[in-house]
Symmetry: C2
Subunit: 157 residues, 2 copies
Amino acid sequence: MQDFSELKQEFIQDYGEGYQHFGLPQLMGRIVGLLLFEGKPLSLDYITQELNVSKGPVSQITRRLRDHNLVQRKWVPGDRKDYYEAAPDIFGKAFVNRISLMKSNLALAQKYQEKIKDLNLDDELANFKINIEDMYAFYEMMIKHYNNFLEEWHSRK
Amino acid sequence: MQDFSELKQEFIQDYGEGYQHFGLPQLMGRIVGLLLFEGKPLSLDYITQELNVSKGPVSQITRRLRDHNLVQRKWVPGDRKDYYEAAPDIFGKAFVNRISLMKSNLALAQKYQEKIKDLNLDDELANFKINIEDMYAFYEMMIKHYNNFLEEWHSRK
DNA sequence: TTGAACGTTTGAAAATTTCCAAACGCTAAC
DNA sequence: GTTAGCGTTTGGAAATTTTCAAACGTTCAA
């Protein structure tokens, strides 16, 4: 059995790498990982020293996380510092963000579907048309299922 | 109404940016976009000149795309060149890749669930335990819905 | 055996992203 | 007002990613 601090470091690192696999900054994942591990509001200074990074990046990334509703500020009475904690239902919130990405893919398909609707369909565009219709159908169905999932998730005990 | 070449360029650009939003190389998206637009096997040289990039990156990225089953080689008799085309059901294939990413998240939750199972649950780890259990439940349910979607997608007319 | 036509690999250049240190602005306490 | 304690912004440094040009290996034709 490993000790507390090792466990924390390992989790933070794993979580950071997980974020990287999604094309997001590793530091973003490490911050979220730290917040999930501690499970209580943390000051910017604490995060800074815990992750061995300077204030600048932490400030910028916590803002980005707040913009995406994954992290929120917590007022601590009698303390001028800002405290941050993981948003309630952070996984659901992250998923909502993903849905909007999918919606922009659907919108892309829709855009080109409309563009070629009026065009003369010679052989060249015929294949493109099929692919775009496929894409549209795919994302439409996908978003439907995403919403199903979200609904079930939010209605769990 | 815009002409054929403009439409192609715009689609390729949009598709490339779409890939970027997912944290993937823009060129990867532009290659996939070109393949979807043309809807027929294209040679490496053709892709190269069409996208204005040199052979190196195109060679590397088509390999990556083949590794992920999004693109496949097509044999053209009497021609020594390699031809590439979008894989059948490319959207479904891409989605399968995403499922395996989600599975690694589930595995992460599972890993830490097991690590802390035997540990003494003082107040510190209590919050972490809740978060990890939440994470596990979330990805478990998510993967179930993802598979539902894939099943419905594959069984569509 | 040579040469030509390919795709791949590789080392370095270019571009982008990440990160830091320091300056800055704001607020609260004195 | 001044000062101290914050978070944010910013210019540039560091690191990473992307891209290119060229060398390389392979295959096929002559």
